[in-house]
């Protein structure tokens, strides 16, 4: 198992390198990074020349990439284009915030979807089953920003009508909270709900299908024939097997969730990666954008790695391949 994990870990290094090259090339060829700076009246020709030298903009793209890679690995992505502001401290802060949002949303989604999928499969064509199917259609078809707005409207109206503050509709925390954790939960609740609905819909459908396939399998029948109680048959024999494909889906879905986080954070004005990305795009500054893309790539690769490890844990048949 350890060999498997180490090997999977080593595989991700070339993938990451390739990612960095693609990110750098695509962003570089999308336009002259200096065009915005050159238009500013308060930036002198000398400053532009300094930028060109510092970022090696007069070199070919592969060479630029090599310099950028060196900067990224040894100097935490360096500074922005003008060289005034180091990228990493900002990125680190928003990363922490986004991770809180995304991890909470995914954990919530996975737990709820698992329960929904299992119960739907165990009671196929019951009222509960039809109910979750209907919910899933809503979840799939509802745009995240719209659902987020609806949540805000509802909570705001409750606040206006009853003067009870259940959840906040913007920002990450109050200026001076009495109870930090409670305050954070009150702030994160709505974004987490908005972000998890699509995931709940997706995972519960996969879990249901996967369970249905498994509950009629021969080994589940064997377990019943051994006299194993039904609850244990479901959890120990059926769910263990049904989880395998769902874990893969969840890990591959991570990119989508990160994309959803961009929208959610914008609606809820959260100081996260999404808002940061939008702001840097607006500034036309390629360097924070590339750093952001790189970090996102690392996350996606990490979650795939995590999925592979979980997969190996759940399914002994693939450990030795």
């Amino acid at each position: 198992m350890l060999v498997y994990v180490v090997r999977r870990f080593l595989y991700s290094i070339p993938v990451l390198l390739l990612c960095s090259f693609i990110i750098f090339t695509f962003v570089s060829v999308s336009g002259d990074p200096l065009s915005e700076v050159k238009r500013r009246p308060n930036v002198s020709q000398v400053t532009v020349q300094q930028i060109v030298e510092r970022k090696h903009l007069d070199e070919s793209i592969p060479v630029q990439w090599a310099y950028w890679l060196k900067d990224a690995t040894t100097n935490s992505f360096g500074t922005d284009l003008l060289g005034n502001r180091p990228i990493w401290p900002d990125l680190k802060r928003v990363m922490g915030n986004t991770l809180q949002l995304v991890v909470a949303a995914e954990l919530l989604a996975f737990t709820i979807a698992l329960a929904m999928g299992v119960i739907s499969a165990k009671r196929q064509y019951s009222l509960f089953d039809y109910g979750t199917t209907t919910f899933s259609f809503f979840g799939f078809s509802m745009p995240v920003f719209w659902f987020a707005l609806i949540l805000q409207v509802i909570v705001t109206n409750i606040y206006l009508a009853t003067d009870v503050r259940i959840f906040y509709t913007a920002n990450l925390s109050s200026p001076n909270p009495e109870n930090f954790l409670l305050d954070r939960i009150q702030h994160l609740a709505l974004p987490v709900i908005a972000l998890s609905v699509l995931s709940i819909a997706t995972y519960s459908r996969y879990m249901r299908a996967s369970m249905l396939e498994v509950v009629n399998s021969d080994y589940v029948r064997t377990a019943r024939a051994k006299g194993v109680p039904e609850r244990k048959v479901t959890v120990h024999h059926a769910m263990r097997n049904a989880l395998i494909p769902v874990v893969t889906v969840a890990a591959l879905n991570f990119g989508t969730v990160l994309g959803g986080a961009v929208v959610t954070e914008t609606v809820f004005a959260l100081d996260g990666m999404g808002l940061y990305f939008i702001r840097q795009l607006g500034e036309r500054d390629a360097y924070p954008v590339m750093a952001w893309l790189m970090v996102a790539a690392v996350f996606v690769i990490l979650f795939n790695l995590l999925a592979d490890i979980l997969y190996g844990y759940l399914d002994p048949r693939i450990r030795y391949e």
Binding site: S217, D218, T222, K226, P229, R240, N241, R317
Partner: protein, 344 residues
Amino acid sequence: MSEPVLSVRDLVTEFKTADGIVHAVDHVSYDVYPGETLGVVGESGSGKSVTVMSVLGLIPQPPGRIVGGEVIFGGRDLLKLSQQELQQIRGGEIGMIFQDPISSLNPVLTVGDQISEALLTHNSKLSAEDARKRSVELLHAVRVPNPDARFDQYPHEYSGGMRQRAMIAMAMANQPKLLIADEPTTALDVTIQAQVLDVLQQAQRETHAATILITHDLGLIAEMADRVVVMYAGRVVETGDVETIFHAPRHPYTLGLMASLPRLDMDLERLQPIPGQPPSLINLPPGCKFHPRCMLSHGRVRCRTEEPPLAPTAGGPGHRSACHFKEELADGVAALSADVRTAS
């Protein structure tokens, strides 16, 4: 004879499907006596597996439904027991071996875990260590080499024959009074079949368990069974001891099965099939269910209108056949089977 271990009486099991009701098992009765091996033969879909699944309460309901009958085991009617009471019996007093050991073992649990589970389910006082010790003994008993290491392996690391032997170990774990083997060798190579049968026979000898052996392999029946139940279209059409069934069958279906076997003592170009197809269990023919394919019926009205009961034959004690004209087979078995051969 002593009291039967298991007594199935007039069992009726149906499945509701989109096309109609499938009469999978229709008034099936048979007894299994202590220490004996009862062979249940029949084509696919003759209801042989559904019967034992109904006995153990393993029929998915819905779409399945046990309409009537009773199953007496240890003085209790299994059909009237709650799921909890049935769980006690399943894997405890009745052990079961399934057809396909590849899909019948859980791929994500070690074989040892799965055998231990059978032990621990029925003995809550057993410690995990003792369960392991006992499981290793069981693996050793079914001749799995190096059982201590094999305990921690997964089913995909076992060969086909070893998997089936592990299944046998699992079924024998709690010293059952009755062992049900549903096509135990069908998925295996011929050479492996012999090994598995050896192990199965040894397990039977050691535990003195009565056995129901479900198969469509008449060779297996000849080798293993003491008595035989022949099933067709969800019904028992003939039952008797193995000698009688093979040498003096009194049902044209049984005779047809025998005639369809490859023979070493005759030089045959082709095998002799029973003409026609098994009937649809949704839309059964009236009267005797076998009459459209029967070489004895000759279009007789009685065959088409009246369902023959399973009645004793003149042949011997315990020999019963569900054919109106069973005694016609008494003197002419050889002639008739020759007839069948030349006719086709």
